[in-house]
């Protein structure tokens, strides 16, 4: 089938349908490709909980800020985390107040810093899904190998399958555009159980406009034919079983735990935490408390696919990338930030 035919079929589709793109990179590709403009308005493409920064709880940020203000302690983090609002401060605001926090390109940079400043304690923020989690496992492996004792990680690591199960059980979503990068690690077979149990299509796709359009078409086709399955349309990089090396190093250092998702709540077995035997490298991740409910911020509803970002009253008004209220407005992978940066506020 030619692409023009796919676009024409999607343009003329009349039934109301809700498809969730789970990861932020897809949200970004959909907006940048102008895909909503190319398909029928009855096909509702909603964002999912796949932006790691968006689902990281406020209380986690507060703990980082506490560390950044502590004597002789420096917090090291990817740039994305710096602007995420905590209860009082973001890391960036804390830094302006004199706290010690630095942006790193890789968590492994902490090793050199720790060697240079043995008198200091370094706290590395460990936030992300299966895609980024292996690098923290690698960090722990290096810390052990080099006998470095002044680096700890504060984890808020998440796994995607339990979150998708939660969505299948609690929300109305007709089909899933499965995350491309996470699928590289976990493999396409990881979705089989969800597909069988909840009778929904899971299609893994790359990030080109063409690939996403084909994936949307495939999801609708499956639903129409009442023949749902897991479809891997990203075979160049996603295998059935995933990345063995990454999965095994994760397994070596981490175990699953119940995790709190900002704006959503606790999801059973949806987190990764350092195993007890490596707890000397853990900066207290197990004791980070869940957030209190936020009355105004609707980020939770955005990442559960209930509303579009611009359906939140604060979007583009009280909440902008310059003054974010919710985490979804902060990150380049966050649905609100992506919508805003691409004119969604107009």
């Amino acid at each position: 089938m030619k692409l023009e035919q796919v676009i024409s079929a999607l343009q003329n589709y009349k039934k109301e349908i809700k498809i969730m793109e789970v990861c932020g990179t897809h949200t970004s590709a959909i907006v940048k490709g102008g895909i909503r403009d190319l398909i029928s308005p009855s096909i509702r493409l909603v964002s999912g909980p796949g932006c790691p920064v968006c689902v990281t709880p406020k209380m986690y940020i507060d703990r980082l800020v506490d560390y950044a203000f502590a004597e002789n302690t420096t917090v090291l983090s990817f740039g994305d985390m710096f602007k995420v609002p905590g209860t009082k401060y973001s890391l960036s605001e804390a830094k302006a107040e004199g706290a010690s926090a630095e942006v790193v390109y890789s968590p492994l940079q902490s090793i050199e810093l720790a060697k240079l400043h043995p008198e200091k304690q370094f706290i590395v923020t460990a936030v992300g899904f299966e895609t980024t989690a292996p690098i923290y496992a690698l960090l722990i492996e290096e810390l052990i190998k080099e006998n470095i004792n002044n680096v700890k990680i504060l984890t808020s690591l998440k796994t995607i399958i339990p979150a998708l199960r939660f969505l299948c059980e609690h929300e109305v979503v007709d089909g899933f555009l499965s995350p491309g990068h996470v699928s590289v690690i976990i493999g396409s077979d990881a979705y089989n159980e969800l597909c069988e149990n909840y009778k929904k299509p899971f299609v893994i796709a790359g990030f080109d406009t063409e690939k996403i359009l084909l994936a949307i078409y495939d999801i609708i086709y499956q639903i129409e034919k009442k023949d749902v399955r897991v479809e891997n349309m990203y075979e160049s990089v996603v295998s059935k079983k995933g990345q063995k090396a990454a999965l095994s190093i994760l397994d070596k250092y981490f175990e699953s735990c119940d995790a709190y998702w900002r704006g959503v709540g606790e999801i059973k077995d949806s987190g990764l935490i350092l195993k007890e035997e490596f707890s000397r490298f853990d900066a207290g991740s197990r004791s980070v408390l869940p957030d209190k409910a936020d009355k105004h911020c609707r980020c939770g509803e955005v990442i559960l696919g209930r509303i579009y970002p611009n359906e939140c009253a604060m979007f583009g008004k009280a909440c902008t990338p310059l003054h974010p209220e919710g985490a979804c407005m902060v990150s380049s992978e966050g649905a609100c930030g992506i919508w805003y940066a691409n004119g969604g506020a107009n």
Partner: protein
Amino acid sequence: MKINLSHGNGGMETAKLIDEIFMPYFKNEYSKGMEDAVTLKTSGEIVFTTDSFVVNPIFFPGGDIGSLAVCGTVNDISTAGAVPKFLSIGFIIEEGFQTDNLHKIAKSVRDVADEAGVKIVTGDTKVIEGNGGIYINTAGIGEMKSSSVHISDAKDGDLLIVSGDLGDHHACILSSRMGIQNNIKSDVAPLNGLVQALISENINIRGMRDITRGGLATVLCEISKSCGFRIEINEESLPVSKEVSGLSGILGLDPLYMGNEGKMLFIIPNEEAENAINILKSKKYGENATVIGQISSGNGVVLRTKLGGKRILQPLMGEGLPRIC
């Protein structure tokens, strides 16, 4: 040898530094007297601008902080339609800086100034505590030989032309910082030759902007706001090299928001655009010049995607890449 605080004392050591490192490169009829201020002659209206340079790393494929400092100011002057004539240069050097590197930077300042036909007429050196870094400020004067160019003169139907590939400087600096091996070079270059070529061929330039920090998208948003028109560009016509496109794909960057240091955006009346492209293509630094879109009534900046979708472009938000220039 390394620079130390005494090189900035204003006495013997400073004089020696200027004599041995700067004067061999910067000596000319204006600077030879070493006066505190220089007297300059110009004909009629002048334009005046200044810019500071804090790039990290100071040497990168395709250029260094010296060439950047000259090109940045030369290009700013050029955007007004003026001919760059005179430059001042101020160095703030951290102790510990290698004098060999200072030689390299001074040479590169001289070489690019010669290419651009501008004279370095006055300068200053300060040494501060620190860790071997260097920062440069340049200010420049240009002569208005023709009528000045203002973005607000843009009209409905005008076409937008970029002088070449987008994002090269940004991609080069990022690669250097991240230790990524590739063939991407900074595009740092003086663009007064391109601008003067269009003016001397009587092309009616309605507006010009050099595409630096914030990238093309940010520049277009500023233009749309100041001229009160809508700008529509076509994704397919945006020139991006394969290497930059590959790197930005991997790192999740968007060439529309990546800075250049040797690219100009021109707004040209529709009927003169073909001629303008031919002139630009025949000149150094303009070989890949191309039409990317047009001005129309309305507001905002819209990108038409390859498949016909619509994407509204906003100015860059957030930090971007710090210390790119």
